[in-house]
Amino acid sequence: MAQPTDTAPVSDTAEAARRALNAEPLLRVENLKKHFPLKTQGLIRRAADPVKAVDGISFDLDAGETLGLVGESGCGKSTAGRTVLQLMPPTAGTIRFDGRDVTGATGNDLRGLRSQMQMVFQDPYGSLNPRHTIGAIVGAPFIIQKTKTEKGVRTEVQKLMERVGLNPEHYNRYPHEFSGGQRQRIGIARAIALRPRLIVCDEPVSALDVSIQAQVVNLLEDLQNEFNLAYVFVAHDLSVVRHISDRVAVMYLGKIMEIADRDVLYSKPMHPYTHSLMSAVPIPDPRKEDRRERILLTGDLPSPINPPSGCVFHTRCPKFREQLSDSDKLRCTDEFPPLELKADGHYAACHFPEVRADIAMATPASADDAAVSGSTASSSAAGVAIDPA
């Protein structure tokens, strides 16, 4: 399934500019698949059907841009991020970075790539070696890559520590002496040490307290502006993803269900799965919470070993269950809906997409709220208007 972007006008201005120059994006992922092989139980262990963790996803990412990957646990979003970084070899598909095919890079090639693309992990406790000092952890990339530094590794590391908001005097401390938020800063300092161009952030703030979460999100945004970093931001928290992303892809059972610019996706979600995800996000506003419509999904995520036929979401789709005629249902159960351009810069994999503007922005609570949501509508309209020019 080729990414339909090739022919379509896109509303994102950075992407439009790039298209005008006919340049390739920083990262282009095409039809990426990652299947984990399984063996049958018993004496003779034959190969069984694999777990299709990522099953044919395509996306582009420009320098300085953030793509959010959201979905329930088990949808393949983390696997997608790791496969892009070549932490696991993909089963199929290509990954092009900076204009060249890097799929399946090994040895020196891969090492060279590592200084260009880095990762920030979810667990700030598990991703730092407890026996190494912060200096050793943040300095390791320089040693491994044999990168020359002007005034020695130590000065460079202390500069990095200061940049991410750590006290450079703590150079010789160990990870256990830091709080969760500070450890995440250490992980970020390590990731930006060699000035990479792409960072995959795998749930970087979900283990942190709300007040600390905001500090780390702000830091990530500052670093992005300063070093023109591209982020693939994997998270399950739709509010954080909306805040940090330029574009957002919603994944379900290894496939992208919907991908669009952040404002478009959150103001006019099209896919029934996106609708239910957004309606489930708890809103810290008791009155809105009372009035809003909840689309409750029934049942659990189907097994990625035997995904449902046709549209993988049809087994839990509220629209399929309640609104479709029998002949329409047949289409959902038999025919796989490709990820298609449904509106300006807005792709969805659904036979019967429907724009629901009421989902995320619950009905305005008061007059000043109404004014506020009115202004969003006009600003997003302005975004669309600029686009053809």
Binding site: E72, I212, P282
Partner: protein
């Protein structure tokens, strides 16, 4: 302490305690002696809860919210923890009752839902065995009768095909199903008080919505009192009647859910509300974090524990924020632990904070 003095006078009526008071905490302290010094996890906490009501306890990690719930369940008995104060359940002090009496109450009158169902359920026993045991400890019935009851409960919490699922092991359940099974176990004896410690934190939003919906339904049916502990303000907005905000082992603000959300008065609550990104509002260019880090519980800051992170210290005359612990009067409808003049607090909220939310 001034708090215990005021609490002593209260007992008869608090304006916001609708219905009869079912659970009452008076000046609860839980301290852990460690090599580094005394950790004051809970330091003088008082609140009350009526039947059929839900109290949401909100705070960051280390604020003492989980330790409070463990103390109510009596999980600090025979450990090194130093527990003082009173926990009155229908007038009976849970800190004073015998172990045997507590065993009768625990699981029967008060039950708990833990955050991580995989470590709270035993991997070697089937789901059915574990819930049947929980039921038979408190009810003198045959195994078959208990089994029927458990199938009923599993059905009630929305586990499909309960007659078959009852014989499966925890690892055969998905995360959401395990959480449901644990809720079924907690509810099997119709407890009057249910404590849910981060019941949905490990779950996806879609499953979280299902579980919260379920808790509300069950409360309507059984009329239990619920304490829900969480760091997610969205969750408490959805289920709680009253909210208690904790910081450094102390309550800093308490009130009916609407008041805490629409007229919060404590700068820490402001910080919590302002720092979270929200999908129901216009996207902000930058988030407004609370600066600094959560406080040490061994050497908590002097005076108001929040003062090193507070932007409004200059609004209080003299050096009171640093020198004097602010009072917290549980008798009020909406008590706040803050030195700023109440009039000024309300003005500050409207002028400085509300526009950011």
């Amino acid at each position: 302490m001034s708090e215990s003095a005021t609490v002593a006078e209260v007992s008869t009526q608090r304006p916001h305690a609708m219905g009869e008071t079912f659970l009452q905490l008076d000046d609860l302290k839980v301290h852990f002696p460690t090599e580094d010094g005394l950790v004051r996890s809970v330091d003088g906490l008082s609140f009350d809860l009526a039947k059929g009501k839900t109290l949401g306890i909100v705070g960051e990690s280390g604020s003492g919210k989980s330790v409070t719930s463990q103390a109510i369940m009596g999980l600090h008995r025979h450990t090194r923890a130093k527990v003082s104060g009173q926990i009155l359940l229908e007038g009976e002090d849970l800190l004073q009752v015998s172990d045997e009496r507590l065993r009768k109450l625990r699981g029967n009158q008060i039950a708990m839902i833990f955050q991580d169902p995989l470590s709270a359920l035993h991997p070697y026993y089937t789901i059915g065995n574990q819930i049947v045991e929980a039921y038979r400890v408190h009810h003198d019935v045959k195994k078959s009768a208990a089994r029927t009851r458990v199938i009923e409960m599993l059905d009630l919490v929305g586990i499909p095909n309960p007659a078959r699922r009852i014989d499966q092991y925890p690892h055969e359940f998905s995360g959401g199903m395990r959480q449901r099974a644990m809720i079924a176990m907690a509810l099997v004896n119709d407890p009057k008080l249910l404590i849910a410690d981060e019941p949905t934190t490990a779950l996806d939003v879609t499953v979280q919505a299902q579980i919260l919906h379920l808790l509300k339904d069950l409360q309507r049916e059984f009329g239990s009192a619920i304490i829900i502990i969480t760091h997610d303000l969205g969750v408490v907005a959805e289920v709680a009647d009253d909210i208690l905000v904790m910081y450094a082992g102390k309550s800093v603000e308490r009130g009916p859910v609407d008041e805490v959300f629409y007229q919060p008065e404590m700068p820490y609550t402001w910080g919590l509300l302002a720092s979270m990104p929200r999908i129901d509002r216009v996207r902000q260019e930058r988030l407004n974090p609370i600066r600094g880090n959560p406080p040490s519980l061994i050497n908590p800051p002097s005076g108001c524990a929040f003062h090193p992170r507070c932007d409004f210290v200059s609004k209080v005359e003299g050096n009171r924020c640093v020198e004097e612990v602010p009072m917290f009067d549980p008798e009020q409808v909406h008590p706040v632990r803050c030195h700023i003049d109440p009039e000024l607090r309300r003005k500050l909220f409207i002028s400085d904070i509300k526009p950011q939310l």
